[in-house]
C-alpha cells in the first residue's frame, strides 16, 4: 500500500489515539468511528477512547509477508478483542511466535507499523504485546 500523506493522516484519530464512537441508539462501539452504526444504522454517536488492553482471539504467523513487511517476518498477526468488546487486527510483537495462544492477555503499544522506503513516511499505529 502506498503511504499517501493525507491518507495516513486521516487515520490518526484511530491509529494514534484509539478513538472510537459509541452509538447513541444501541450503545455499540464502532472502531474506527463511522457515520452510520453498522448494527442499528443510527447516526448519533459520542466519542469514546478504547482501553489499550485485551485478549488474543485467534492468530497466525506470517512467513510470506506483503512486500512492505518483508523486514519484519516472521511476525504474528492476530485478531485481538479489546476490553469492551471491540475487535481489531494487529500484530503481536515482542513475543516468541510459539508462545502466542488464544485468550492470551495483551496490551496495545504505539509502534511503527510500516514505512515507505528509507526517506518516505513512517506510519504508526498499535501493536499488541504480552500484558
Amino acid at each position: 500500500m502506498s503511504l499517501n500523506p493525507a491518507r495516513v493522516a486521516r487515520e490518526f484519530p484511530s491509529r494514534y489515539r484509539l478513538e472510537a464512537a459509541r452509538c447513541s441508539g444501541c450503545g455499540r462501539v464502532a472502531f474506527p468511528a463511522r457515520l452510520v452504526c453498522p448494527h442499528c444504522r443510527g447516526t448519533q454517536h459520542s466519542p469514546v477512547t478504547l482501553r489499550p488492553e485485551g485478549k488474543v482471539v485467534t492468530f497466525t504467523v506470517i512467513h510470506v509477508p506483503p512486500a512492505e513487511f518483508k523486514g519484519q517476518s516472521p511476525y504474528v498477526l492476530a485478531v485481538v478483542e479489546l476490553a469492551g468488546g471491540v475487535r481489531i487486527t494487529c500484530q503481536v510483537a515482542d513475543v516468541d511466535p510459539l508462545a502466542v495462544h488464544a485468550d492470551m492477555s495483551v496490551r496495545l503499544e504505539f509502534r511503527r507499523v510500516q514505512e515507505d522506503g528509507e526517506a518516505g513516511i513512517i506510519a504508526y499505529g498499535h501493536k499488541a504485546v504480552p500484558a
Binding site: V64, A67, L77
Partner: protein, 387 residues
C-alpha cells in the same frame, strides 16, 4: 421472471500462460462458449474481473472485450466483487435474461495474473481485504484464512491432516481434468511438509496464481430448446447473493461465513430445492480451510464436521456428495475473476454428462459457491437439468 438456461460453456487455457494476454485469454473462452452454444450474436456481455487495473493496467474491459470479438456496439460491462466477480457477472447476465432486457447473454470472467511480480500480485489480491484495518497491519489473504483455520481447529478439533486432505482430494480430481493447472496428485505428507506461508497454512493449502478466462452463454428457455440439438438443457434454477463486513475481525464467529449461508438460502428458495437435492458442488476452495468452512456454512454438513468430509471420502468423486470434481481452485487454478463462471461451466458440463473421467454419474442438480475476500461477498447458484 423468465426461465434462464446455460446454452454454451467455454474456458481458455488455464495456468501460467505467458503467451496470452488478458484479451486473448478472454477471446479464447468467449469464442468457445459461443461455438458451444451455436450462436453468433448476443444482446449483452458481462465481464467479471477483480483487478485488471492492477494486474495489467487496463480498466474499461466491457467495451475493450466486446470489440475484441467483433461485437462493438453490444452493451458490455465489467462487474467486480473481488474473487466473486465471476459470480456477480453471472448474476448480472441472469438478471438481464430473466427480466427480458436481453434474450441471449454472454457472461464471462477473466484474470491475467502473471504479468506482475509475486509481490505485486499479493498486493492486488490484498485489495479484497480492508485496506485500513487489515492490510495496513500486515495481513495477507493466506494470513486471514489461517486465522479462520486456527479458530476452527481450536473450537472443533479440526486437524492439520484434515486440512491437507482437502488439497489431496482436489488434486486427485484435477488430475482427471485436462484443463487443470496442476494435474499431479499430492499426498498429505506433501502438504504438511510444504513451505510455510501463514501458520497453519502451507503453500499446498493455497490455490495457485493463474491466468485464465471462462464464459457461459445464457438464454431464455425457449431459445435454449431450439438450440439444444438433443443435449440436456441446463437451467439456472436459483441464484443468491449476499454480503457481510469485509474485515474478518468484525464477524462474531470466524469459523463460519454468514454471507455464504444467506446466499445459499436465497438460491435454494428461488430454485424450490432443499439441500438434500444437491448432487454435486463446486465451491470456493481458495485455501483448504475454505472448503471445510464453506461446506458447513452451506449446511451440507453440521458445524465442526467439515474436516471429516474429505477424510471420510464423502466429498470425493464416487462419494455421496462430490465436491470440486473439476479440481477446485486448488488444482484447476484460480484466475480470480474467472472462477465463478468456471464453476458453473463445470456444473453444466457435468449435468450434460460430458464430464469424461471426472463425470459424476447421473448428476441432475448441482450447486456452485463463489466468494470474495474472506467471504464478505458470496454468490450461490443452483443449476439443474430442465425437464
Amino acid at each position: 421472471m423468465r426461465e434462464v438456461a446455460i446454452i454454451g460453456v467455454g474456458l481458455s487455457q488455464w495456468g501460467e500462460v505467458w503467451g496470452s494476454s488478458l484479451r486473448s485469454l478472454w477471446t479464447e473462452a468467449a469464442l468457445a462458449a459461443l461455438a458451444d452454444a451455436g450462436v453468433d450474436k448476443v444482446d449483452t456481455i458481462t465481464v467479471g474481473s477483480m483487478s485488471p487495473g492492477l494486474f495489467v493496467a487496463q480498466e474499461h474491459l466491457g467495451a475493450l472485450l466486446a470489440d475484441e470479438i467483433g461485437m462493438a456496439g453490444v452493451p458490455a460491462t465489467r462487474v467486480e466483487s473481488a474473487c466473486a466477480s465471476g459470480g456477480v457477472s453471472l448474476k448480472a447476465a441472469f438478471a438481464e435474461v430473466a427480466s427480458g432486457l436481453a434474450s441471449v447473454a454472454l457472461a464471462t470472467g477473466v484474470e491475467k495474473m502473471t504479468d506482475v511480480s509475486g509481490d505485486e500480485c499479493t498486493a492486488a489480491l490484498a485489495t479484497a481485504a480492508d485496506a485500513e484495518l487489515e492490510v495496513f497491519h500486515g495481513a495477507s489473504f493466506p494470513g486471514l484464512y489461517a486465522m479462520m483455520a486456527r479458530a476452527h481447529m481450536e473450537r472443533y478439533g479440526t486437524t492439520r491432516e484434515q486440512l491437507a486432505m482437502v488439497a489431496v482430494k482436489n488434486h486427485r480430481h484435477g488430475a482427471l481434468n485436462p484443463r487443470a493447472q496442476y494435474r499431479q496428485e499430492i499426498t498429505v505428507r506433501d502438504v504438511v511438509r510444504s513451505a510455510r506461508v501463514a501458520d497453519p497454512l502451507n503453500v499446498l493449502d493455497c490455490s495457485p496464481i493463474t491466468d485464465g478466462a471462462a464464459a457461459v452463454v445464457l438464454a431464455e428457455l425457449s431459445v435454449a430448446r431450439k438450440l439444444a440439438k438433443g443435449r440436456p438443457i441446463v437451467r439456472i434454477a436459483g441464484i443468491g447473493h449476499a454480503t457481510d463486513c469485509i474485515a474478518l475481525h468484525n464477524r462474531t464467529d470466524m469459523t463460519t461465513i454468514p454471507a455464504t449461508t444467506r446466499a445459499a438460502e436465497r438460491a435454494l428458495a428461488m430454485a424450490g430445492k432443499r439441500l438434500q437435492d444437491i448432487q454435486l458442488v463446486e465451491l470456493h476452495d481458495c485455501f483448504t480451510i475454505a472448503e471445510i468452512v464453506v461446506l458447513e456454512s452451506l449446511g451440507l454438513c453440521p458445524p465442526g464436521e467439515g474436516g471429516k468430509q474429505a477424510e471420510s471420502g464423502r466429498t470425493a468423486l464416487g462419494g455421496a456428495l462430490p465436491v470440486n470434481v473439476s479440481g477446485g481452485l486448488k488444482s484447476k487454478g484460480h484466475p480470480v475473476g474467472a472462477t465463478g463462471i468456471a464453476q458453473v461451466a463445470e456444473l453444466t458440463t457435468q449435468l450434460r454428462g460430458e464430464g469424461g473421467k471426472r463425470q459424476v454419474a447421473g448428476a441432475r442438480v448441482g450447486l456452485a459457491q463463489n466468494m470474495g475476500g474472506t467471504g464478505a461477498s458470496t454468490v450461490v447458484t443452483v443449476v439443474e437439468v430442465a425437464s
